[in-house]
Amino acid sequence: MNGREFDFTEELGELRTLVRQFCEEQSPEDVVRTTMDSEAGFDPALWRRLGTDLGVLGLHVPEAYGGGDAGLVAQAVVVEELGAALVCGPVLGTLALAVPVLCALSREDVKETHLPGLVSGDRVGTIAGPLLQGTFDAAGVTVTAVEADGGWRLNGAVGHVPDGAAADLVLVPARTPAGTALFLVEGAPAQLRRTPLTTLDQTRRQAELELVDCPAVQIADETETAQVCEQAARVAAVLLAAEQVGGAQVMLGRTVEHASGRYQFGVPIGSFQAVKHRCADMLVAVEQARSAAYHGAWSLQDGTDDPALAASMAKAVASDSYVKVAAAAIQLHGGTGFSWEYPAHLYFKRAATDAVVLGSTEQHIDRIAALVLDAAPGR
């Protein structure tokens, strides 16, 4: 399905159209608003349709585990469209995090058992660990694992777990006597207490999880865990960058439309340069984000760039662009932009959240500086 870098093939275009039409029909703005106010915060039936009818929730997953084996670029196109429509669903927890973590494991049996359910949209997964900074920070692991009765028991609390309330499958990095290993908690055991949190971005839920002697199985050992999580964090950063592109593009389009139709002083406001120049800058921001996000996707898919660098580039540029574009959208819509009925605030909140989840721009810039400047020859 994929050509060389930036070659958006016809198949990718068709995939985009497919998902866009689905979102227009099944998740228009009023559905998004109803769903974000619902208790679960997403519609499991809609998510299942994406996974099973459209088959677009595991495009970068090998066929052996129920995936589409079409590559990360294809998956990024899907996530971009879901982000454009603000579809409520476990995009972050399941699609961007749990699936890549499982894919990166060496244990075939774990992948065969757990990936198909996530890919089909039947189950929701997430990871409860220090990954939301964009890298895996072993020192930030707050859960401990002890061996008991031939199994493992987990103890500790983790905040900010994306889709944590809905997850059927919770991946938990935890401290063992030998280091940090990765564990899996399945179903809804009583020893896993979930506290849903009120999120700034109502279309994307988080929960605080508390594990009290919670039974768990180990799925990656101390030698593998950090690298598995690290790799998944990069995939997640790139997918989130694609989502940011999708949202920013919508905000640009809506703003241009508004500026062309809204009259003040007898002319469309878009004829004022203070307005049109800001629109031009929004376009620049969107285009740069698109380049960086898809460079990230192509790089991780084909191994054409340092994956850590490419992922940080994607996330840093897309975060900045989305925030800037969403803020400009509100400004250029005036009072309309500030009102609840108009969707600009939904995108603005998503932008503000995406900008810190999986590593803030500042953290990614710091990583880029370490790779490009500190490591530079001649120092």
Partner: protein, 396 residues
């Protein structure tokens, strides 16, 4: 003319290798080398055969230039900056074939340099408002007026000239496009010093200069359309030559950073990393535009490159100045030098030169107008001079 055999990157590279094998760049005078380059159809591979081209896809030019460069030859456009960057495309689109053949070869070899005589003291951004008059006299046109900021006019043999042939119609409709021999009687070039202390651009005074009608491009009164093709080549040229990762102006900043550990601070490190990231986003956007153009798609990404490149260039050299600290407050020499010497350009001069990036070839304000109006289709600015005869438009 036949295009039966599709030209591929391999054919182009093979042709290029033949040229540099027969005329090793190290020992061949540039004009001779570039003459052979032109004759082989490698000057502009997308041009017609016999006019320096092969009727091949434009993308293949990079492959040819790489061979030339690897053999120690010049980057072709440096042989005749304005000729390659701005003029050649317009000639091939608008000049009759014999005239094009007469002009393009010495342009390609650098034997005849070109300059652009567009801007005037009263007409920069508002180029179509220009006042230089051309009046028909038999087979000639007689031109009188003043041009300004004309790069390399002091070295040029030819100029592209936009002049007013009818002041009684609205400004865009009364313009005609000419090629002027800079050696004609009545052409006076006065170097004009720049911010850097050097004089790379000029004032050009035209006093009763006779231009044969045969040197007109496009119809009388249709000069604006011709000039738009020139300006679009110019903007593309100013934006889409992006060097590899870590090269170009950001590469200079990286080199300066590495050379000055004593000046490194966390804040400057952050700034440089952000500039690096912006340079990369720009480079990737240009790459993406090229892939899209290969499929015949000219998307919004193509329109923003000049705007982004120029502002980035300024920010990079502002960073260098700050890294240099007090050292940046000193300057090599303001003694006016006409031609560039070969010594490496100091950062301070590049810093000063970078102020031009957002002015030349259309200011950033004008670029934003263009992006907003042509790409985003926002409504046009309010204009006072629409549908008014040029003669009646207020001027400063």
């Amino acid at each position: 003319m036949t295009t039966a055999t599709a030209t591929t990157a391999e054919t182009v590279e093979e042709l290029a290798r033949t040229v540099v094998r027969e005329r090793p760049p190290a020992t061949t005078p540039t004009a001779e080398l570039m003459g052979a380059w032109y004759d082989a159809g490698l000057a502009w591979v997308h041009f017609p055969r016999g006019l320096g081209g092969l009727e091949a896809p434009r993308m293949l030019q990079t492959a040819a230039n790489r061979v030339l460069k690897e053999a120690g030859g010049p980057e072709p456009r440096t042989v005749n900056i304005i000729g390659y960057g701005i003029v050649a495309g317009t000639i091939v689109r608008y000049a009759p074939p014999e005239l094009a053949a007469r002009l393009l070869r010495p342009l390609a070899t650098g034997e005849e340099l070109w300059c652009q005589l567009f801007s005037e003291p009263g007409a920069g951004s508002d180029l179509a408002g220009l006042a230089t008059r051309a009046v028909r006299d038999g087979d000639d046109w007689v031109v009188t007026g003043q041009k300004v900021w004309n790069s390399l006019a002091h070295l040029a043999r030819w100029g592209i000239l936009l002049a007013r042939t009818d002041p009684d119609v609205p400004k865009h409709k009364g313009l005609t496009y000419f090629l002027v021999d800079m050696q004609s009687p009545g052409v006076e070039v006065r170097p004009l010093r720049q911010i850097t202390g050097r004089a790379q651009f000029n004032e050009v005074f035209l006093e009763g200069v006779r231009i044969p009608d045969a040197m007109r491009l496009g119809d009388v009164g249709a000069g604006w359309a011709v000039s738009l093709s020139t300006l679009s080549d110019e903007r593309v040229g100013l934006g889409d030559r992006v060097p590899a990762r870590g090269a170009g102006s950001i590469g200079e900043a990286l080199a300066l950073w590495a050379a000055r550990p004593d000046r490194q601070t966390p804040v400057l490190r952050d700034r440089l990393a952000r500039l690096w990231l912006r340079s990369e986003s720009h480079r990737l956007t240009v790459e993406r535009a090229k892939v899209a153009a290969g499929h015949g798609v000219f998307g919004p990404e193509a329109a923003i490159t000049k705007l982004v490149a120029s502002e980035l260039n300024q920010q990079v050299y502002e960073f260098c100045q700050e890294l240099l600290g007090l050292e940046g407050t000193l300057y090599e020499s303001y003694t006016s030098v006409l031609e560039d010497d070969d010594s490496p350009t100091p950062y301070q001069r590049k810093f000063l030169r970078s102020r031009a990036a957002t002015i030349e070839g259309g200011t950033s304000e004008i670029q934003r107008n263009i992006v907003a109006e042509r790409v985003l289709r926002l409504p046009a600015d309010l204009r006072n001079d629409k549908n008014v005869p040029w003669r009646d438009v207020p001027r400063s």
